[in-house]
């Protein structure tokens, strides 16, 4: 099939944003990296299942697991995991006391799994 040149990949805001590649790059630079993934949602939630956030030991952030309401708490857990704690499943929701603190404004419930990238 005759075809034109394959131009450089266009960065996209959707699935094509490659956080895993970025996580691997940060590891290769010698940084500790944690990966947070939305694994379940109920009701309205700003980011769907599979959405991810990566954070490293210099608190560089990429991606998101919510509209910004729970990222702080997730990063807090990520720091513990980068310091050697085991992976952890976090749950945020309106009935949850922590959610009042961090304020899941949309009123949904979301489970986020946080793990280290070895």
């Amino acid at each position: 099939m005759a075809e034109g040149r394959l131009a450089k990949a266009t960065p996209t805001a959707g699935q094509a944003e490659d956080l895993l590649a970025e996580a691997a790059r940060w590891r290769d630079e010698g940084h500790k990296v944690a990966l947070a993934t939305v694994v379940q949602t109920w009701g309205s939630s700003p980011r769907p299942v599979g959405s991810q956030l990566i954070v490293d030991d210099r608190l560089r952030l990429q991606g998101s697991v919510s509209g910004g309401c729970i990222e702080g708490a997730v990063v807090h857990e990520a720091q513990a995991i980068m310091a050697g704690a085991p992976p952890k499943l976090l749950e945020f929701g309106v009935s949850d006391e922590q959610a009042w603190d961090v304020g899941l404004a949309c009123g949904g419930t979301v489970k986020v799994f946080v793990e280290g990238v070895e």
């Binding site: 099939m1 005759a2 075809e3 034109g4 040149r5 394959l6 131009a7 450089k8 266009t10 996209t12 805001a13 959707g14 699935q15 094509a16 895993l20 590649a21 996580a23 691997a24 590891r27 990966l35 993934t37 694994v39 379940q40 299942v49 599979g50 085991p86 992976p87 499943l89 799994f113 793990e115 280290g116 990238v117 070895e118």
Partner: protein
């Protein structure tokens, strides 16, 4: 996540192979399924492997129904948009679809239209649409839009799209143009079920006028069909009411 799993996952994604990563949420152990074979620290029963294959086919990430501690993250190859016609609307549609995460290919044998100056960052195919479409082989993660307004380019592309499992097939043209098109395609041997799959006039009825607005309405309709949202009832167009 073990580095070995991460590297194998990235390799499989780069090769555009359907891949699923299964994580045990109680301890973080993982299992990587690439197409039909899987391996990892985590062991799955045959029933769980079947459920993972089902999640891949449905393109749905989430906990396994029978084992909610196991989270399946589906990494399917990107959605594709095959655009027939390197026209003005396509110049707006291509970057919009790319931003939405689609891998886009533009098919048009006319060099005056399909060139890098007009389409700087997309794959261009200059074969005749039937040959090009056969090679591109639309699958259930592909959308096809035909926009040339020229039956000798549009019709062969539609013929192949309608005989494929493309999740969306749309064609530019007014109701009148489309009625004539249906006649031609029926004569060419396409059945009513196949013809009913064509979204025409293309795009959601949002009053689009400029090429970029038409591109928005096309992208909106593709999104609606992708997520299987029932279409809104179309209001009569103002022109038709007069």
């Amino acid at each position: 996540m073990k580095r070995d799993i991460l590297d194998r996952l990235q390799k499989a994604r780069a090769e555009k192979r359907p891949t699923a990563l299964v994580t045990d949420l109680t301890d973080g152990r993982q299992f990587l399924q690439v197409e039909n074979s899987g391996s990892g620290e985590l062991k799955l029963t045959p029933a769980q492997q079947a459920a993972v294959a089902e999640a891949l086919a449905a393109d749905r990430s989430g906990p396994l129904p029978e084992a909610p501690d196991l989270f399946v993250h589906v990494y399917n190859p990107p959605l594709r948009l095959l655009v027939v016609g390197a026209v003005h609307i396509s110049q707006a549609l291509v970057p919009m679809a790319q931003i939405a995460g689609y891998e886009v290919v533009v098919v048009d044998p006319r060099k005056a239209w399909a060139n890098e100056e007009r389409f700087p960052s997309v794959r261009l195919v200059d074969d005749w649409p039937d040959e090009a479409m056969r090679a591109l082989a639309p699958d259930q993660r592909s959308a096809v839009v035909v926009l040339t307004h020229d039956p000798k380019l549009d019709d062969p592309a539609l013929d192949i799209a309608l005989n494929s499992s493309a999740f969306y097939v749309g064609a530019l043209g007014s109701r009148k143009t489309h009625a004539k098109r249906l006649e031609r395609l029926r004569e060419a041997g396409l059945g009513d079920d196949a013809l009913a799959r064509i979204h025409a006039p293309i795009g959601l009825a949002i009053g689009a006028k400029s090429p970029s607005e038409v591109a928005i309405s096309i992208m909106a309709e593709i999104t609606q069909v992708l997520h299987r949202v029932p279409p809104l009832v179309r209001q009569p167009q103002p022109e038709a009411a007069q």
